[in-house]
C-alpha cells in the first residue's frame, strides 16, 4: 500500500471515530465545558493529528488511547449525573457573592475576586450600582447570576395585573414555496384552509417564500416578490372594532329614544356587549 493511501485511510477512520466520540460526549457548548472536558477534547484532537500524518504508527494504539480519553470523561459525566456530591467535586459549587443586598467579602476573597471584578461582572448584567442587587451568585462556569431588588426588576404584565392571552409557538406552514404538512396538522388545519387564506390575500402559493400561522389561525406571509405589499391580518382587530361600534350604537339609541321600554332594552344590551368586549379583548390583538 502506498504511504499516501495509508494516510487517507487512517484519516477517514479516525475522523469517523472522533465524530462519534464527540457526539456521545454531549451537546455542551465550548464555553460551557469545564477544564477537564476542555483538556480531554484537545488531547483527543492531538491523538488524531499525530496518527493521521505519521503512516508508520499503529492505528490501533491510537484508537486505544482515544478510547481511554473518551471513556473517562464520559464516565465522570455519567456518575456526576447520578450523584450530587460527585458533581460538586467535579464541576464545583456556586458561591454566593451578594446576599440580602450585602456583599460577602469572605466569599470574594475565597474566589479570588477583586471588587473591580465584581463591579465589572455586575455591569455585564446592566447593573451599575451594587446596592441595586438583592442576590448574586458566582456559577461554577465563572459567570455571575444576578437577582436585582424587586423595584429594579423589569416591569411585567404580572406586576400590572394585566390579563394576557396565552400564546403558543407559531408554526411554519410554507417554506420556499412548499407546503409543510406536519405543522399544518399540528394546528389541525389542512391545505384547503391554506389555499383559502392565500386566496383572501390574493397571492399564489408559488410566490410565497415563508408563511407562518399562529394558534389562532392567523396567517402571516413573506413573498418572493418584495415589491408587493402583504396585508397584515386584521380579522381579529376588525371584530373587536365592530363589537365596540355596536355597543356605542346601542348607547346612542338609548339616548335618542323616548320610549322607556326601548331605552331600557338598549341600555341592557349595551351593558351586555360591554361585558362581552371585556371578555374577548385580550384575545383579539
Amino acid at each position: 500500500m502506498p504511504e499516501w493511501f495509508v494516510i487517507v485511510l487512517k484519516s477517514v477512520i479516525l475522523l469517523i471515530v472522533l465524530f462519534f466520540m464527540t457526539k456521545w460526549l454531549g451537546k455542551k457548548q465550548i464555553s460551557q465545558l469545564n477544564i477537564f472536558e476542555y483538556i480531554s477534547g484537545i488531547v483527543l484532537g492531538g491523538i488524531v493529528a499525530i496518527h493521521t500524518i505519521e503512516p508508520e504508527r499503529n492505528i490501533f494504539y491510537g484508537i486505544i488511547a482515544m478510547f481511554i480519553w473518551f471513556i473517562v470523561p464520559f464516565a465522570v459525566e455519567f456518575i456526576a449525573l447520578k450523584s450530587k456530591s460527585f458533581r460538586n467535586f467535579t464541576q464545583g459549587k456556586s458561591t454566593v457573592l451578594i446576599q440580602d443586598g450585602k456583599i460577602m467579602e469572605e466569599n470574594l476573597k475565597k474566589e479570588g475576586y477583586s471588587t473591580d471584578d465584581l463591579l465589572e461582572k455586575l455591569r455585564d448584567n446592566d447593573i451599575f450600582l451594587a446596592s441595586d442587587v438583592e442576590f448574586a451568585v458566582l456559577e461554577p462556569s465563572g459567570s455571575l447570576s444576578v437577582l436585582p431588588k424587586k423595584e429594579n426588576q423589569p416591569l411585567t404584565a404580572k406586576d400590572l395585573g394585566l390579563k394576557l392571552a396565552p400564546e403558543k409557538e407559531p408554526q411554519t406552514v410554507v417554506m420556499d414555496g412548499k407546503v409543510l404538512l406536519e405543522p399544518l396538522a399540528n394546528l389541525s388545519l389542512n391545505t384547503n384552509w391554506l389555499e383559502t387564506e392565500l386566496d383572501k390575500l390574493n397571492v399564489s402559493i408559488e410566490n410565497v417564500f415563508l408563511a407562518q400561522a399562529d394558534n389562532n389561525g392567523q396567517l402571516t406571509i413573506d413573498l418572493y416578490d418584495d415589491k408587493l405589499t402583504v396585508p397584515q391580518p386584521t380579522e381579529a382587530k376588525l371584530l373587536l372594532a365592530t363589537l365596540k361600534k355596536c355597543q356605542a350604537d346601542l348607547e346612542l339609541f338609548a339616548l335618542e329614544t323616548n320610549n322607556i321600554q326601548s331605552k331600557e332594552l338598549y341600555e341592557r344590551n349595551s351593558r351586555k356587549l360591554q361585558h362581552a368586549t371585556e371578555l374577548v379583548q385580550p384575545y383579539l390583538k
Partner: protein, 66 residues
C-alpha cells in the same frame, strides 16, 4: 337614515360579530381562549335576539320605510 334602519344596521353588525366569534372559537387551539370566545358569543346571541324583536317592532311603527 330612520331609526328603524339604524337599528337594523346595528342588528346586522351584531350578526357579523356573532359569526366572527364562532369562527375564531373554532380556529383557535387553546381551550381557554375557545371558552372565552364561546362565552362572548352566547352573550352576543342574546343581544341579537332582543334586537331582532326591536327591529320587527320598529318596522311595524314605520311601515312607510319598510
Amino acid at each position: 337614515m330612520t331609526v328603524g334602519s339604524q337599528v337594523k344596521s346595528c342588528y346586522s353588525s351584531i350578526k357579523s360579530v356573532e359569526a366572527g366569534l364562532s369562527l375564531l372559537a373554532s380556529k383557535t387551539q387553546d381551550v381557554e381562549t375557545q371558552n372565552k370566545f364561546n362565552e362572548a358569543q352566547k352573550i352576543v346571541t342574546t343581544v341579537k335576539e332582543e334586537l331582532k324583536q326591536q327591529v320587527t317592532q320598529l318596522a311595524k311603527q314605520e311601515p312607510q320605510y319598510k
